[in-house]
Amino acid sequence: MSIALESAAQQEAAVPRSRFWGKLLRNRSAAIGLTLVGLFLLLAIVGPSLVPWDPIATSWTTVRKPPSAAHWFGTDELGRDVLARVLSGARASLTAGVISVSIAVAIGGPLGVAAGYFGGWTDTIISRCTEALLACPFLILAIALGSVLGASLTNAMIAIGIAAAPIFIRLTRGQTLSVKTEDFVEGARAIGLPHRWIIARYIIPNIFAPILVQATLIVAQAIIAEASLSFLGLGQQPPAPSWGAMLSTGKNFVQQGQWWMSVFPGVAIFFTVLGFNLLGDGLRDALDPRES
C-alpha cells in the first residue's frame, strides 16, 4: 500500500504552470500592488484622452483656481488643468521609472554575474568600483550624474539608471555567488558545459526572482528620483508635465493655501510607489518555488 500512497502523492504533486499567478493573486499585498500599478499604467495610456483639457495649453482666465466641477483637481499658476497634467505626467513618471531600472539591470546584471561567476580579478575590479559608488547615496549620485549629463528627461533616466546600477551589481553578484556553490553548478561543469551555457541555464534562472523583486522595488525609488530631478529642473522640461516638476512648482504656492497644485501629484507619486513596493513584496513570495 505504501506503493499506492507514493504514486498518489506524486499525482498530487503535479502542479499546473499557472500556479505563479494563483499564488501572486492570493497574496493580498501583491494583488493591491498589481491593481495600483495596473491602474496607473492604464491612466498613463488612456488617461489624457479622458479629460477635456489640454495639459499644456495655458489660460489666463483660470489661473490657480481651486478644485471645482470643471477642474476636479483645480488649475495651476498658468491656468492649466491639474488633473490633465497629473494624468499625462503619469506617462513621464512610469516611463522614467521603468526605463531607468531597465538601464540599471542591463548594466548591473551582466557585471554582477561576471563578478560572481568568474571571481578573481574580474570580481576585485568590479566589486571595488561598486563599493565606491555605493558609498554615495543613490539620490545624490543620480542628481550629480543628471547635472553632468544636462537637463532632459532622457538624461535623467540615464543618470538614474547608472546611479541604480551598483545596487544590481551587488545583488546579482551575491546571488550568483550563492547559486555557484550549489552542487548543480559544479555538476554542470563536471559534464563539460560551456560557461555561457551554465550562466544562461543554471545561474540566471536561479537568480531571476530576487532580481525581479528588487527591480520592482527600485522602480519605486526611480520614480521618486525622477520626481526629484524634475523638481530640481534636471528632468522633464517645461511645459511637458511630470509629477516631480509639478510638485516643484506647486510647493511655492502651498503657503498661500493653494494646496491642490502640489498635493495631487504628490498623492499620485505616493500611490505609484506604494503599488510597486507591494507588487515587489508579493512577487518575492510568489516566485519562490519552495513556498506554496
Binding site: G187, I191, G192, R201
Partner: protein, 373 residues
Amino acid sequence: MSTILEATDLTKHFRSGGGLFHKPTIVRAVDGVSFAVRTGETLAIVGESGCGKSTVGRLALRLLEATSGSVKFEGKDLASMDEDALRGLRREMQMVFQDPFSSLNPRMTLGDIVGEPLWLHGMGSARERRERTRELLSIVGLRPEHAQRYPHEFSGGQRQRIGIARALASNPRLVIGDEPVSALDVSIQAQVINLLEDLKDRFSLTLVIIAHDLAVIRHMSDRVIVMYLGKIVETAPTAALYAEPLHPYTRALLAAIPLPAPGLRAERKLLEGDIPSPANPPSGCRFHTRCPFAQARCREEEPALRDAGGREVACHFYETLPRADAERAVAIPESAAKRRRMALYREHRDRQESDAAAAAPAATAGRALEPSA
C-alpha cells in the same frame, strides 16, 4: 586488470582568510595521495568528515586544479588537456553528488536535466534524445512521463535517481559517487545502492564510491581506501579489510559500525578527541593525537604507506599491534539477506522491463522501489 584512473601524489591546499596584516591559513585538504582505480572495480574512499574525500573526487575529475600531482585517465594526463579535450573526456567520467536537493537545477525539467549531456555531446537527433531520456528515466526506476516535471516535486531518493540518470546519459565508463546515499533515509539508501550495483553490472561501469563510514560500502566495494586528514592510511581489498583492519584508524571506523546481530553487540569503541584541523595537522603520524597505540616515534616521524601483502598501511607499528577483534568482522556473514534482496530487485526490474516492452504505459515502473518515507 587495467588501470582506468591513476592519481599520483595529488595535493590540494586551500588558502583561506589572510589579508594585509595576517597570513592566510593553508588548509591541506589533500596531501600526497596516490591511488589507482582498476577498470571494472568498485573502489571505496572512506574517512571522517573533512578528511578530503570530496576534494580527491573533484581533483580526479579536474573540477578543482590540483596544487601538485597528476591525474591520468587511461594514461592521459588531465592537467595537460585543454577545454575541448577535457569536454570529450568528461563524457567518460561522471559524478553523482551527495545532496540530492542541491545537485539538480530547480529550474530545469527532468527531461532537460537528463537529456542535457546527450545534447552537449551531440548524441542523436532531438527525437532520439527524447527517447533516450525517457529510457534513462525508466532505467533508474522513474516514470518516463515525469520528464515534464521539476525536481522539487520528487523525494530525496527519487532525486538521487535523477542524478544517476543524468550521470549515465553520456555512457560514461567511470562514475564517482560522492556520498551518494548519505543524505537519504536508511530504507532508501539500500535501494539506491542496489540501483548503482545493478547499473554497474549492466553498463560495465567502474565505480568510485566516497563514504564517511564503513557500513554503507561493505557489500558493494571491491577495494577500500581509508583516508585520514588528507592522507591515505590504509588500502585493502574489502574482505581483507573487514576481516582484519590493520591501521588503528581503520579499526576505530570498523568498531563504529552498529552490529547487525544482537549477540555481537560489543560496546562501541568510538574515537576519543576531535579531528585535528587540516590547517594545522599533527606532526609525525597525523593520527597520533587519537591513536590508542601511539608511541614517541609517532609524534616525530611520519609513517610511509607500506606494502602489507596485497594491501598498504601507513603505521609504524601495525605488525606488532594486538590483533584486531576479527571475530566480529567475520561474524557479519556474507549476507544471505542481501543476496535475496538483490535477487528480488533484479526480478522486479525484469518484470518492469517486460511490462515496458509490452508497450503498456509504464504504470508500475519504479514505484515499488520507493516506499514513501
